[in-house]
């Protein structure tokens, strides 16, 4: 007995299908924003789309090559300029070394615990910004180096001016950086002028950061420089983060509204540095001073 060929497609109707897939998507959204049970899913998809992304970068790669070629004509001039800059900086660095030595000497005289020397232990990886993903709700950028280049989750990313953000998603050949301005991002900071410690958080708007929960009579002024305090262990201390733009001290409210602007810019240059504060190393350096201070 033969069955007749089917004339019409069977199976669930369009709305039923939409319903099934919508529920599946909503589960995925909830999983991704709240629970994060399968981080591998993202990794797998990222490997699938990697060749497509590479093809998409070809035009910009060609543009870069052409730009590099045209820039090579005034290489000599640039070299002289850079040499001059190097000498200038070298002089500052020498002074810094002298100051550091003096500082440790004074600290020893005071009998204070030595500061953790994280700056000497940091390892730096130079990475290039690959592209800005198109999602107006998130503030992220993608770098061209990933776990294959010894980059780890949670490392700080800086440019020549200050902090850019933190690595939040790692792929084998690329990584995602959540920028300071992202609404879920916060940095422990210190005001350079008076050493006041606080936390600066992103607002989700471009070029705007917020200092939350500072009482109305806090000593903070327009133009104050905010640097990382090093508390929390993600960011090394002393790197510029933002300058205070505007302070609204509403006597009726409990807290002052302090807005600040980040110092580092993502759209200015393409090279950034990824700083690694390796856990093991920082533990070592933490132990060293305690032994020394014990003997002193």
């Amino acid at each position: 007995m033969e069955t007749a060929p089917q004339f019409f497609r069977n199976g669930p109707g369009p709305f039923a299908r939409l319903f099934i897939f919508a529920i599946l998507s909503c589960l995925l959204i909830a999983e991704d924003t709240r629970f994060k049970y399968f981080p591998q899913l993202r990794q797998i998809i990222s490997v699938i789309i990697l060749p497509l992304q590479r093809i998409a970068y070809i035009p910009s790669d060609i543009y870069d090559q052409v730009e590099k070629f045209s820039a090579s004509f005034n290489l000599l001039e640039e070299n002289i300029k850079l040499r001059q800059l190097y000498l200038d900086r070298r002089e500052q660095l020498l002074r810094l070394e002298a100051l550091e030595a003096e500082n440790t000497h004074l600290r020893r005289l005071l009998g204070a615990v030595q500061q953790i020397e994280t700056t000497a232990k940091t390892k730096v990886v130079l990475a290039e910004i690959q592209y800005t993903p198109r999602d107006p709700f998130n503030h992220k950028i993608t770098l061209n180096k990933g776990s294959y280049h010894d980059i780890e989750l949670g490392q700080a990313v800086i440019d020549d001016k200050g902090i850019v953000g933190q690595i939040t998603q790692l792929y084998p050949w690329s990584s995602e950086v959540t920028l300071l301005t992202d609404k879920d991002h916060a940095v422990p900071i210190q005001v350079v002028r008076n050493g006041l410690r606080s936390i600066v958080s992103g607002t989700g708007k471009n070029n705007e950061l917020e200092l939350r929960y500072l009482s109305v009579n806090t000593d903070i002024q327009q133009g104050d420089l905010l640097v990382t305090s090093g508390i929390g262990g993600v960011y090394p201390p002393g790197i510029p983060v933002a300058t205070v733009l505007k302070i609204e001290q509403d006597p009726a409210g409990d807290f002052a509204l302090v807005t600040s602007a980040p110092i580092a810019g993502v759209n200015r240059n393409r090279q950034v540095l990824v700083l690694s504060l390796a856990q093991v190393e920082s533990n070592d350096s933490q132990e060293m001073p305690t032994i020394e201070s014990g003997t002193n």
Partner: protein, 191 residues
């Protein structure tokens, strides 16, 4: 009874209906697109979506994958399944570094809308289709905004909807080009 119905049919409407009919009959017959052609177009759409753009250009860039899904679903229904739209959405989500699942949801909604309204849309000329496609794209943007709002983001400015307008403007020229590509080449050996 019949008189009443005759009164209802006013001459302008008949003319309009006739013009739509002529328009529809005047269209070139669609050549079935091969699966490989559709697959290639989807891959190209993905690559276009991953182009590294910056600033306003990035915000105003139309969503090429949504565009491709809408095109194939309207002009060649039953070639794509909703699972394809879902999978493409996941890939775009990872590429965009957004919340995993939001593009998947939006593309499924686009797929559903074009499946329901596809036959009706084909009655119109490409220029008349464009605003209706724009409306679908607008619904997609609203889905993104709702997902983002649910996770605590604030709404971006009006620039956010530039992509919808760009997509609607692109509809007519892009559909025209795809139809040209699909046209069978005249066989020189035949009479």
């Amino acid at each position: 009874m019949i008189l009443k119905r005759c009164q209802q049919l006013n001459p302008e409407r008949i003319k309009e209906n006739n013009s739509v009919k002529e328009n529809y009959l005047g269209q070139d017959m669609y050549v079935p697109a091969s699966s490989s052609f559709i697959a290639t177009s989807l891959v190209i759409a993905l690559i276009l979506n991953f182009l590294p753009l910056q600033g306003d250009l990035l915000i105003a860039r139309p969503d090429f994958v949504a565009f491709a899904i809408a095109y194939w679903n309207i002009n060649h229904p039953h070639k794509l399944g909703m699972s394809v739209a879902f999978g493409m959405g996941l890939m775009v989500d990872v590429g965009n570094a957004g919340i995993l699942g939001q593009h998947a949801l939006a593309y499924c909604v686009i797929f559903y809308l074009t499946q329901i309204f596809g036959r009706r849309l084909r009655l119109f000329s490409l220029l008349k289709q464009a605003p209706q496609i724009g409306f679908f794209l607008l619904i997609m943007q609203i889905v993104f905004a709702l997902v983002a709002l649910s996770s605590g983001s604030t709404l971006p400015g009006w620039k956010y909807f530039h992509a919808t307008i760009a997509g609607a403007l692109l509809w007519a020229p892009a559909s025209f080009v795809i139809a040209l590509l699909l046209k069978p080449k005249p066989d020189s050996s035949s009479l």
